[in-house]
Structures are given as structure tokens and as C-alpha cells.
Symmetry: C2
Subunit: 250 residues, 2 copies
């Protein structure tokens, strides 16, 4: 009865924390491994998108039968969880420098991660797979925030809001920088559609604030640039908010 597109949480949990199996030597030698499947699936999703990542194609790219995958992985939902955790493990989170710098580094790394793996925006929202990747990230953020002297509850809340914002904003950024590839629409066509929309469909009388922002040049930047500005502003505000709270309490 899985309605969220994710597999049984317990099953995934065991896979995420599993220690590599020790083979007895007996039995037919495996052609693929747990890890190779994850890597192949990620490569496919990176190149052709999450929808193109089918069990058939993953198996093909590994030169095995489709059903062979099911010896190593319970199903596609679990495989997706494993991919997400594997991606998060790519974050390079050295605990160095002052706390604010560390969190900014995390934010930049997260953007780069979404650039490499644009499919993350389709799966990485709420209810994340509770694997080593997630825990490493959370540990990094909590560890940085302990330097502020806030209470554990405050730190936890601050960490959660940073995760929420950075994940969402990274997804938006990656969305824009991959837009051409995703929509199959060239940048020129995009601007054309946009012009047609503003000229023919948009009714300024109905949305005066949008009209005014448009006239004042608020939309002159490309979507990617605008998203980057929003990212910077939001992150700065959150970090400032943490500093204010720290000064008040300590």
C-alpha cells in the first residue's frame, strides 16, 4: 500500500545501512552488484531524465536481463531511495571554517549536486531516505550550528529550515539551467513563447503588481539569474536570522 512512490521504509533502511555481503564462494558468480546497479541507474537518470530510467534500460546498460536486477534490489522504489542517498554522499562536507562559511559551502555544494543530478528535484523533497548521506549532511549542519551557542531545539529548527530552503532553491536553479534539455525547447523559442504570453494572454489589469514589476524591470534578468539572486537573498536572510537569535540568547 505504497502511495508515495517510495518502497517499504524498513526494507530501504536495511539496504541503506547494509554492510557489503560476504560471498561464500558457492553459487553462480554474479554479473552485477548492488553498487553497479545504483551507478548505472544514476547515469541513466542524469543523461535522459528520471522517466527514461526504466528497469529495462538499466539492465540493458549493464548487459544483463531485466530480472537480474531484482536479485540485488527489491524494486524500483527502493532503488530510487538508494540513488538519492548515494547522490547526497557526493557532498564534500569538510567541517572547516566558521559556521556561516560552512553552511554557505553546503549550499553551493547542494546547487552543484542538483546540476549534476537534475532528477533530484523530482524525489528529494519531504520524507527523505534515512541513509548515511542524509545523516552526514544533517551532522554537518548541526555541527556547524553548535558554534552559535543556540539550544539544541533552536539548532534543529534552524537546520531544518536551511535544508528546506537550500533544497528547494537548488532545485529551481537546476531546473532553469537544464530547462532547454528538459523541455526540448531552445532558448530562443522560450523567449518567443514568453513574448507571446505577455502580449496575447496576460491581462495587466488583473495583475497590477506583476505589471508594475515588469515595467520597473523586475523581470529583466534571465530566469537563471533571477533564481540565483533569490537563492542568495534567502540564504543570507536565514543565516542572519540565526545570528540574531544567537546574539539574543548568548
Amino acid at each position: 500500500m505504497d502511495r508515495s512512490g517510495r518502497g517499504d521504509p524498513g526494507e530501504t533502511l536495511n539496504l541503506l545501512w547494509r554492510t557489503p555481503r560476504v560471498r561464500s564462494g558457492r553459487g553462480r558468480p554474479p554479473k552485477v552488484s548492488f553498487d553497479k546497479i545504483i551507478v548505472a541507474a544514476m547515469a541513466l537518470a542524469d543523461r535522459d531524465g528520471l522517466d527514461a530510467m526504466t528497469m529495462d534500460r538499466i539492465a540493458d546498460s549493464l548487459d544483463v536481463g531485466t530480472m537480474t536486477l531484482y536479485t540485488h534490489v527489491p524494486g524500483k522504489a527502493e532503488l530510487t531511495d538508494l540513488m538519492v542517498d548515494h547522490a547526497w554522499r557526493e557532498l564534500d562536507l569538510a567541517p572547516e571554517g566558521p559556521w556561516r562559511e560552512r553552511i554557505e559551502r553546503y549550499a553551493r555544494q547542494n546547487v552543484a549536486l542538483h546540476e549534476r543530478h537534475p532528477w533530484l528535484r523530482q524525489v528529494s523533497t519531504a520524507r527523505p531516505p534515512l541513509g548515511p548521506g542524509l545523516f552526514a549532511r544533517n551532522d554537518f549542519l548541526l555541527s556547524a550550528l553548535f558554534e552559535t551557542g543556540l539550544t539544541a531545539a533552536e539548532i534543529s529548527a534552524a537546520s531544518d529550515s536551511i535544508i528546506t530552503f537550500v533544497d528547494g532553491a537548488s532545485a529551481t536553479l537546476a531546473e532553469h539551467s537544464h530547462a532547454e534539455r528538459i523541455s526540448g525547447q531552445s532558448d530562443e523559442d522560450w523567449w518567443d513563447d514568453r513574448r507571446v504570453f505577455w502580449e496575447n494572454i496576460f491581462d495587466p489589469a488583473r495583475y497590477p503588481a506583476i505589471e508594475r514589476t515588469w515595467n520597473d524591470g523586475g523581470f529583466d534578468r534571465s530566469p537563471a539569474e533571477a533564481a540565483a539572486k533569490a537563492f542568495d537573498f534567502g540564504l543570507r536572510s536565514l543565516l542572519d536570522g540565526i545570528e540574531v537569535m544567537a546574539r539574543r540568547s548568548g
Copy 2:
């Protein structure tokens, strides 16, 4: 070549802004309408989740053949876009009160919206359907922010970061309050799993900051309470950030 799970943007755009068709009187009388299909689809997704919302079941709930739907809607991707926009139109966005209050009202409304329509978290991230619902929301936020005296570019960035944060945090909140229904796992089982995880799987030596936060009571709150705290903190910080910027510039 749609890889994002969304339909042709141009097609959806026309549907979103379409004026109700004037029937000539000729032709077989319709059994369903555009709007009824959207409402039925939303009811299904609300009750049973997005995965359970199939074209077959939507048609059944309307007492028509499956293919009848395709007379009114090009396909499922477009229907999903229409549902998202329809949901956004439910936001009650009266432009009253000081700007900060207005944005807080928007935030609360958005949480309520995600409570009513938990499937939004699976579709409402980047690349939103550019319909009346989106524009009404953006107009509301921009209109509120104009009171701050910031430049159009600053307002646009601030608005975008609020949208990113509020959407992500609302999704997390709704996720937790619907967790039981989604996972089919009772609250007791959830806490049991949690205990098993901390006792058997979690390695404190590897994640010292998490261990410390745990010991300091940082995780004592229920996930829903913790998410609410993160929501409040993040929104307050963003609004403070806007105030600071406004004071600096004018």
C-alpha cells in the same frame, strides 16, 4: 519528448487561460465538463493519493468511459497542471493589512492548502504551470512587497525566496501530518521503528553532532511540531531579511 512528467507547455497554457467554450447547441450533449473532470481528479488524489489517480478511476467516478476524458483534456500531464492551478486558486488572498501580515497570511493559507491537497508536494516544485492561480499568488506577494519600497529586482528576488521556502516547508508539514495515512504505518509503529533505528543502526561515533543534539533534547518534539518550528523560524528570518534590506535602501 516530455521528461519532466509535464505536458507540452503551450498546450497547457491555452487550457489554463481558456475562456469557457460557447456551445453551438449542435452535437451530442456532453456528459462531463472540463471543470468536473478537474474536480473529480482532485477529489480522487485528495482521498487516495496521486498514484491512485488514474484516468480509469477518474472516469469511473464520473460515470463515463475512460476515453471520454480525452475529449475535454489532452492527457494526464495537462490534467495534473490544471489541478495544481485549480488548487492554487483556492488561496484566499485579500490584499489587506501591512505587508508582513499579508505574507504571513499567505504562508498559513499555503500550509492549509497542502493539508487539503497533500499531493501538491509531489508536483508543485519547480516549473509551475503558468496559470491564473500562480499569477494571483505572485501578484499578491509582489503587491505586498511594494510597500517595502524596495526595487523591483529586489522585490522579485524576495518574493521568489518566500515562495521557495513556504512551498517546501508546507510540503514538509503536510507530509508529517499525513504520514500515517501515506505510509499505512500507525504512529506507534513509527516510534517503534525510530527506536529500533537509534538503538541498532545508528552509530553515534560517526555522527557526533546528531548524537549531541539527541542527548540535548533537540529531537524530543514530534516531527510535526519540529517542522512547525522550522517553518516559523524560516519565515520570520526571511521577513526580517526583507525589513533589513528595506531600511538600508530607503
